[in-house]
């Protein structure tokens, strides 16, 4: 490896380094959750951190999401900067009351007297044959709730740097890490020292069609854009990154260039985040559109266990490319 090439790493390692750096940088920061200490995390994100940082900073909790998320809220109000790991978003439903009725509301209901500088990390998404109860994509649900900021790091850089920005936010922030991304390898530019948690980002420029996506669907969408480019269709890919509040301006700007939009969202189609993005476009860029808006979402079924059925239920590069093709070359 030459000295100038950025070091290669994985998304998992980027998450680990983010937690480690945050704990080392600020005595108020600690991590707690199920199996985060001795087991090293259900997706091995926190492996080795207990040994290095000690039990005060890496805390295993009982199997009670409501209790430890509530404890995190209390710690945040009391001046700490907790990172709470909920194994997967599937289990976060057990803590939904704490997240929705306490974390999101207390700053408002207290008239600003209590901030809740809490960060909750959770894994999301399907693709590893974990069956219907463990394959949900609930980030779209959480993006419905005022008072929360919802992040979906889809790149190694965002996995490495979004956490610090989230801890700086005085309000609760939820970070959704897609389970299919943890093993993703790539380069991490050491020159980048931080990222914003406000803006969507253009991951690929193009002029024929805009593909709006986030999280685990980003790289499927990028693959679709490659396929389309080989056919002479230049797709612009927008990574939303921040699902709440949505960076509508970046989307609208892109629609003004391409006039055609496909929204890719692993959530179910009905009442999805994709529906919200589509509606924003209708509200703000209706007259720019030269084709109907299309969505590629998960099939409206509980995610199947069988691998071929599971893959068929999820957005895939082929279905994304087909949707875009149908807008740019409808007669072909």
């Amino acid at each position: 490896m030459s000295t100038t090439a950025p070091p290669r790493t994985t998304y998992r390692e980027a998450c680990r380094q983010a937690i480690r750096a945050a704990i080392l940088a600020d005595p108020r920061v600690f991590l707690m959750g199920e199996d985060v200490g001795r087991y090293g995390g259900c997706y091995a994100v926190t492996k080795g951190l207990l040994e290095e940082l000690g039990e005060a900073r890496i805390r295993d909790t009982p199997l009670s999401e409501s209790a430890f998320v509530g404890a995190g809220i209390g710690a945040a109000i009391a001046g700490m900067r907790p990172i709470v790991e909920v194994m997967t978003c599937n289990f976060s439903l057990l803590a939904l009351d704490q997240i929705m009725n306490n974390a999101a509301t207390i700053p408002h209901m207290s008239g600003g007297q209590f901030a809740v500088p809490l960060v909750i990390r959770m894994a999301t998404g399907a693709g590893r044959q974990l069956a219907a109860q463990h394959s949900h994509s609930l980030e779209g649900w959480y993006a419905h709730i005022p008072g929360l900021r919802i992040l979906a790091p889809a790149t190694i850089e965002d996995a490495r740097h979004m956490l610090a920005a989230a801890l700086d936010d005085p309000n609760p922030v939820l970070i959704f890490e897609h389970i299919m991304l943890y093993n993703m390898e790539g380069e991490l530019d050491p020159a980048v020292q931080g990222v914003d948690i406000a803006k969507a980002r253009l991951r690929r420029p193009g002029h024929d069609v805009t593909l709006v996506t986030y999280g685990g669907s980003l790289f499927k969408t990028m693959a679709a854009a490659e396929t389309l480019a080989a056919e002479g269709i230049e797709a612009e890919v927008i990574d939303l990154r921040v699902l709440r509040p949505l960076d509508t301006a970046t989307i609208i700007e892109s629609v003004g260039r391409t006039r055609r939009v496909v929204i890719v969202d692993e959530g179910w189609r009905a009442g999805s985040l994709a529906a919200e993005v589509a509606m924003r476009i209708m509200e703000e860029a209706f007259f720019e559109l030269d084709a109907p808006i299309r969505r590629v979402c998960s099939r409206e079924v509980p995610i199947p266990y069988a691998a071929h059925l599971e893959q068929a239920a999820l957005p895939q590069p082929e279905t994304i490319a087909a949707a875009a093709r149908g807008l740019v070359r409808p007669s072909a």
Partner: protein, 383 residues
């Protein structure tokens, strides 16, 4: 059945490209309605129809190059159209008079409402901006919708509106012909514009910027009034000789950005009061520069005025635009020593010039016209 043919939009026009139909078969048209857009060397021109009737057939498709005089459409005249309409059902009891029958064009062959064409929002907006109708377009977008790519001109039709090379050729042909055929005589008159401009400045002081009048509009008004009293300078020289114009339609020369010029007509300029004339001039200049002139504006001018403006030369010896027989030139207003009541005083002077066609008029008549303009300009409050 009457034929509607490609009109001549200038002495040197041989053909024009039909850009767009503004009507469809079955449409009722009235004299003066804009029925088509034709691209000529002078840009995209809206073509008016000269009679009332109902469009029966469009003979050429958009994009075709059509020679002057060739068939564009067939029109059913008023009487024929009425005959062709189904006779109203006889009223069983004639005592209460039946409601008037609908006009012929309101009785279409099919009673089914036409299917609403699918048009994407972007295409609909672009078409509206360009003044395009969507009738007859074939949609290639999703679900057969008309999308941006289906609009007749992907490039903005009237951005600039004029094709520089073609315009240069048109000017060369017209001016060459003028200098070959027309025996010009030239007259010039220096006019003290100070009282006029003093009056104008007082008037403008009480007005908002958009309501103010330009000095040019005073000169245009004075010239139009004067020309109305000089019929032998207002009209056309045809093979059979001079034919006076029916009304004073002043061709106002507009320099185009990027070169070239066009002198569309302000119809009945002598009948427009100052504010209306100012509005007409602004409108004409805007449309001349952006495209969107009408055929009648390019053919109807009975005399041309060229005004050089603030940054122009002090005087101009203009060239008559055939088949017209005269052209007036206004130079730049410049402060000069002037003798008033035996004393030399600074005054704002404009050189007004006239080129006349000696076949149609003599210098004496031209001199009277200039004197009349000067006299009118001395009493701006009466303009």
């Amino acid at each position: 059945m009457n034929d509607f043919r490609m009109p001549s939009l200038g002495a040197d026009m041989e053909a024009g490209t039909l850009v767009e139909w503004k009507v469809a078969p079955g449409d009722r048209v009235r004299r003066g309605d804009i029925v088509a857009v034709v691209e000529t060397q002078k840009g995209a021109i809206e073509i008016e129809i000269f009679e009332d009737g109902v469009v029966r057939e469009l003979a050429v498709a958009p994009g075709s190059l059509v020679p002057v005089g060739a068939l564009l459409a067939r029109l059913e005249g008023q009487a024929e159209a009425t005959d062709a309409a189904p006779a109203p059902a006889p009223a069983p009891a004639p005592t209460p008079p039946p409601a008037p029958a609908p006009p012929a064009s309101m009785a279409p062959a099919s009673l089914e409402p036409p299917a609403r064409p699918r048009v994407t929002p972007a295409a609909r907006r672009r078409a509206a901006e360009l003044g395009l109708t969507l009738e007859g377009l074939h949609g290639t977008g999703v679900a057969g919708a008309i999308c941006l790519a289906d609009l007749p001109q992907a490039r903005p039709l009237r951005a600039g509106g004029f094709e520089p090379l073609g315009m240069r050729r048109a000017i060369a042909a017209a001016m060459g012909r003028s200098k070959r055929e027309i025996p010009h005589y030239y007259l010039g008159q220096s006019v003290d514009l100070s009282p006029t401009l003093d009056w104008l400045e007082r008037l403008n002081a009480g007005r908002g910027p958009s309501q103010r009048l330009l000095p040019a509009v005073l000169m245009l008004r004075a010239a139009a009034l004067a020309v109305a009293g000089s019929p032998e300078l207002n009209g056309f020289w045809k093979e059979e000789g001079f034919r006076p114009g029916e009304g004073v339609h002043v061709g106002w020369a507009v320099a185009l950005r990027g070169g070239g010029l066009v002198a569309p007509a302000i119809h009945h300029a002598d009948r427009l009061p100052l504010d209306a004339l100012m509005a007409a001039m602004r409108d004409l200049v805007t449309r001349a520069r952006s495209g969107g002139l009408r055929g009648s504006e390019l053919t109807d001018a009975t005399i041309t005025i060229t005004s050089l403006g603030d940054r122009g030369a002090e005087s101009v010896l203009p060239i008559i635009h055939p088949p017209q027989v005269a052209i007036l030139g206004f130079g730049r207003v410049a402060e000069r020593p002037w003798v008033v009541d035996g004393a030399v005083v600074p005054r704002r002077i404009v050189q007004i010039t006239l080129a006349g066609d000696h076949r149609a008029s003599d210098g004496h008549r031209g001199g009277l016209l200039l004197a009349r303009i000067e006299a009118l300009l001395q009493k701006p409050e009466a303009l």
